[in-house]
Assembly symmetry: C2
Homo-oligomer: 662 residues x 2
């Protein structure tokens, strides 16, 4: 007991140290989504989920009530939500607490639930009433599972429990103000016990009302008759196997990537869509897990748009509510989940992973930030879990961010936001991984790595558009293994480079290669080295991140500390500077990236607005290598190209038709 909320002891909230916990709940809003994630593909699991009426006000919780429509009674478990109406949050009344019984019934029935209202203040024997209601709900769940037919509504029970806030605390405080049933009962109902003797006495009286002497011996051990009431060990909440999901996790039967790899006879000599290619491989994984049912994809209805549609040949989008006739690839039992809620996708996936399964969250890059705070909390959960010996590693949380801002296809400025990776950079080095595979084969190899790993948060950022392919599978394997490396085939000149052109991300890679060939043509005597970074954290000093390149490898890539590096980066330049921090002489890195300039426009115009076009990169390289005149010429050319784009409404053929040639 003394270790509760004590330095070095147990934290005050539920946390990974506590057996049975798969969700901390310190940041309110995600309990319900997590509960649904836990129940998926566990037909024998019943997940009860307690939701505070304060928590119910959060958007993520409000949206999660509709997750009932995604549970398939034959292949999934059930969720029994208990909405706890104690009327107050910290000091304000709650919205749900102020709703009438009729409103509550209508609201939850409308959302497709069968609500049971339990009001302890109106019950003679509240415990018996709650127990009966739970039994009733359980029987109803069993009945739904038995009777449900595809195409019908599966209306599950839920419980609305009205009880006074702080039920059991003293009726009023020492000043005579009501305590039980009011906001004053929140968290620590008696605050001044250290300094106020009357309050201390009230606390003692209250705690003694539980008759501790009848419950515990002098040594603090519960009496035998109390212990006899405990359920048998394997029925205790802390012992539910799903709550230590890592112990249930099985390695995925990952298909050979070789069968899906793009043939790349020479760099640039093949064209493919990275996510399109990966989609085929993921579809095969879907098929391979058809019986195991331990792999799912959660997505805010962007699978098709992200060119991952192949998945829908392997499985359906799950939905267990009557459907419009024109719906395609939607059916109960599918293992793709599409809902326009990044919160729900993330919550589902968290619940699914922590109970021992695997998954992937493909998302428009700009909108992944919707889940920023959920990522924060999940990273904390993982970090603490790693410090608990009995917690087995769970499958990693994998994001596949695509539909990146550089190629917006008429979606505009709101869809341009590469900041999700900056948030991940604030996390522990043991948790965070960030990959920017520049083409299809590197994406395949990266995804395989992510789906094999445990206890990580893997961020994979990749393009969806058809485009030049750089590495054949062998080269991709080596490159991904190294994390970053010189692309010899793209370098020119001999000896120590006059400038290094580096890139991370699909679009920057194209621009850097185009810049390199411009330099080769116009400054043939300049030695240019090209480096591609697929594992962003390989740039970090090795003592700051486990993926950090050794000093030697780093120098092999970027040359001695006097060589300028012009870096084309997918995201905000600050992220590269942040990762590089601690390397010597980082001032020589001149990072181009997203400068928060944008609108609906052509890809080239957007690059120019952010000083990230091939011309900008080549010009910067020329300037750093002491060729200011060339730099000036390149900038003029850039401006001409841009004017043409504005004139014609599309990028000049010179830009769009450019291909790498050795």
């Amino acid at each position: 007991m003394r270790r509760f909320s004590w330095p070095g002891g147990f934290p005050s909230h539920l946390s990974p140290e506590v057996p049975g916990v798969v969700h901390e709940g310190g940041e309110l809003g995600y309990a319900l989504a997590t509960a649904f994630g836990a129940a998926l593909d566990k037909p024998d699991l019943l997940v009860a989920c307690l939701v505070g009426d304060g928590e119910a006000e959060t958007g993520p919780t409000a949206g999660s009530w509709h997750a009932n429509k995604y549970l398939s009674p034959d292949t999934d478990g059930a969720v029994l939500p208990v909405l706890h109406l104690n009327g107050y949050k910290i000091s304000s009344p709650t919205v749900y607490g102020c709703m009438s019984d009729e409103e509550l019934t209508a609201y939850f029935s409308g959302a497709g639930w069968s609500p049971y209202l339990v009001d302890v203040t109106r019950a003679e024997d509240p415990d018996a009433l709650l127990a009966e209601t739970l039994d009733l709900a359980h029987r109803e769940i069993v009945a739904v599972r038995e009777r449900w037919q595809p195409g019908e509504r599966a209306v599950w029970p839920m419980i609305v429990l009205r009880s006074p806030k702080g039920w059991g605390v003293p009726e009023s405080d020492v000043a005579g103000r009501p305590l039980e049933g009011t906001f004053r009962a929140h968290q620590v109902p008696l605050n001044d016990v250290h300094s106020d003797d009357a309050e201390f006495a009230l606390l003692e009286q209250w705690l003694r009302s539980y008759r501790p002497e009848d419950l515990f011996g002098a040594d603090g051990r519960p009496h035998d008759d109390l212990l006899a009431e405990l359920p048998p060990e394997d029925l205790r909440l802390g012992r539910v196997p799903e709550a230590n999901g890592g112990a249930l996790r099985r390695d995925l039967p990952l298909p050979e990537v070789a069968r899906f790899a793009v043939e790349v006879p020479a760099p640039g000599a093949a064209s493919a869509s990275p996510t399109g290619t990966a989609g085929e491989w993921l579809a095969e994984l879907m098929r391979a897990t058809e019986d195991r049912r331990d792999f799912r994809v959660m997505c805010p209805d962007e699978l098709e748009s992200n060119k991952l549609g192949a998945l829908l040949d392997a499985t359906d989008r799950t939905f267990a509510w009557p459907l419009p006739e024109t719906a395609e690839h939607v059916a109960p039992g599918g293992r793709v989940m599409e809902v326009l809620s990044e919160h729900l996708c993330q919550g589902w996936l968290q619940g699914y992973l922590l109970t021992g399964r695997h998954g992937l969250f493909p998302c428009y890059e700009a909108f992944a930030s919707i889940a920023d705070s959920m990522l924060n909390q999940y990273a904390k959960f993982l970090k603490m879990s790693g410090e608990v010996l009995w917690r087995e590693p769970v499958a990693s949380l994998n994001y596949l961010l695509t539909s990146e801002g550089w190629r917006q296809e008429h979606n505009g400025y709101s869809h341009q936001g590469p900041g999700f990776l900056n948030n991940l950079l604030t996390k522990k080095a043991s948790t965070a991984r960030i990959y920017l595979p520049p083409d299809a084969n590197t994406l395949l190899v990266t995804l395989r790595r992510c789906l094999t790993s445990t206890d990580r948060i893997n961020l994979v950022i990749a393009g969806k558009n058809e485009g030049s392919q750089w590495l054949d599978l062998d080269a991709a394997e080596r490159h991904c293994e190294a994390g970053a490396g010189v692309w010899d085939w793209a370098c020119h000149g001999d000896g120590e480079p006059g400038v290094v052109l580096a890139c991370a991300g699909g679009i920057p890679t194209v621009e850097v290669l185009a810049a390199t060939s411009m330099l080769r043509d116009r400054a043939p005597d300049l030695t240019v080295r090209v480096v591609n970074v697929v594992d962003l954290l390989s740039l970090a000093p090795a003592d700051r991140h486990p993926h950090g390149l050794s000093e030697e490898d780093f120098t092999d890539c970027f040359g001695s500390t006097t060589v300028p590096v012009v870096f084309g980066f997918h995201g905000y330049p600050s992220a590269v500077h942040e990762v590089l921090h601690g390397r010597p002489e980082t001032e020589r890195f001149h990072v181009h990236g997203y400068l928060e300039e944008g609108t609906t426009t052509t890809p080239f115009d957007l690059l120019v607005s952010n000083q990230m076009s091939r011309y900008d990169l080549a010009a910067d390289a020329a300037r750093r290598a002491g060729r200011p005149e060339l730099a000036g010429r390149l900038i003029s050319e850039r401006d001409e190209m841009r004017a043409a784009a504005h004139e014609q409404g599309e990028d000049p053929e010179e830009i769009t038709g450019w291909r790498w040639s050795a």
Copy 2:
């Protein structure tokens, strides 16, 4: 027309360039919350808000339906939501589209609305039906406003509009697959018009079906009879004055801060709660705006917890639904809004600001990240608005982050997250401002500045706990004006410093001052300079941020480029490195901050876990100044103190009782 979705032309989404727009909506989920924010304190305003059935799936939208309970019919305007059920989002069916009419009616009635269902496929004359329904809804709104009495439910109308997706597009595509009413009608229904002649012909046929020749002349100008149908200019949507809110904005009648300032006879010789002090000033501002009703505070039910309770003496928490008897300080018409939804707080505030009013969003620091992506989009809105000549500046979006992770009072690891500021750092220098006032008077001065400013996103991070005060009001004014400065009274020794101890944030300031006095005692011959940074962006190079200190001022603070700087920072160290980027010799900055280590523990233990305690700072300073032995001793002392905290469950008096002495 040609400028639509054209480089240099109009973006494809609604955006600030378009008159009448106060919400872009590219990132879905916030339309409804924004609409409610716009209606507040505008009794004559009716805000119609179109919500897609896809958008309705988002958590923030789902939570926003309950915002009806916060509208006071006598002092606020009305919101008329139109939920548009076209059945599909991008390619999946929608949840709401799959709900039956009975479910929809129950759901929205339960949420306190009076729903009208309009199904265009079942109507003979859909336009007439919709027009009649709108009239009906309007009459109902008028009736609610006339009849409503405090304590009653104000049940407003809302409309559920069922129509086929892509109503009006060709019935099927060239392959004969159904188009109208299906997901294929999303966004760009005919994709291959460039390459597919049949599709081009279909497009032409479709567009010609609108008979453009009857509508426009050869020069593209609409015919006079069409123009005659336009409403008079001042009734056009683009001309609603509220949609260019900056033009309505009036400067706030800010109370004199002098009346609320803490008397600080000497540094450390007074004690106060920063937010407690600010709360009194804000309460006075609430009173001063009682008649104008153009200042509001939105908060996730944390006002009391954040020590801003004084506001509740000046106004109530608004709520227009029947309340429990024990509720206090809650009534319709109040101008504080407490809902457990950071999304709703942010959405309300955005709508309120963009229609010409002022506000403040106090929030637990760790949970502000819930609004990360809303901040992203709002920053974009401001940036684009700044490029539109006719948009007048709106009041800034002001966050007051408190209940910071360093003082968690038994809330634990989940409540430790200073990353919101990192996200703001990715925004345009013209938009982002970050202040870390170290005490009450600097907080007052900072808040006054924020509430005077326009078109900014101001992040203010301040402590809530009673603690030592450093600056009297005059000094606070000068310090805030400078942004950063040497605290002469805390320095010791003569000449060029051997080490600079810098700090930003309330807790780091205490630790740095305590470290300084340790060094004064134990290394009296070491010259130590103390610098406090209140305006984080003053550290940025002047060419990167308008608040950046000149080189001269920067050197005056931090000494020549050879002096080591040990920096105690409130947040993640990376944020300081990021801001410093571009200053010369930044390697001499050794930043201590939050390292993502934590649990429920004592403040001192938490500081030590993150190497941010006074001992850690003093030891690092000693080490950097070439006194490794002293550093070692300090670390041993730290460990003893920590052991004592673990032993006693609270921090030793030596830590908690420490006071600055000159």
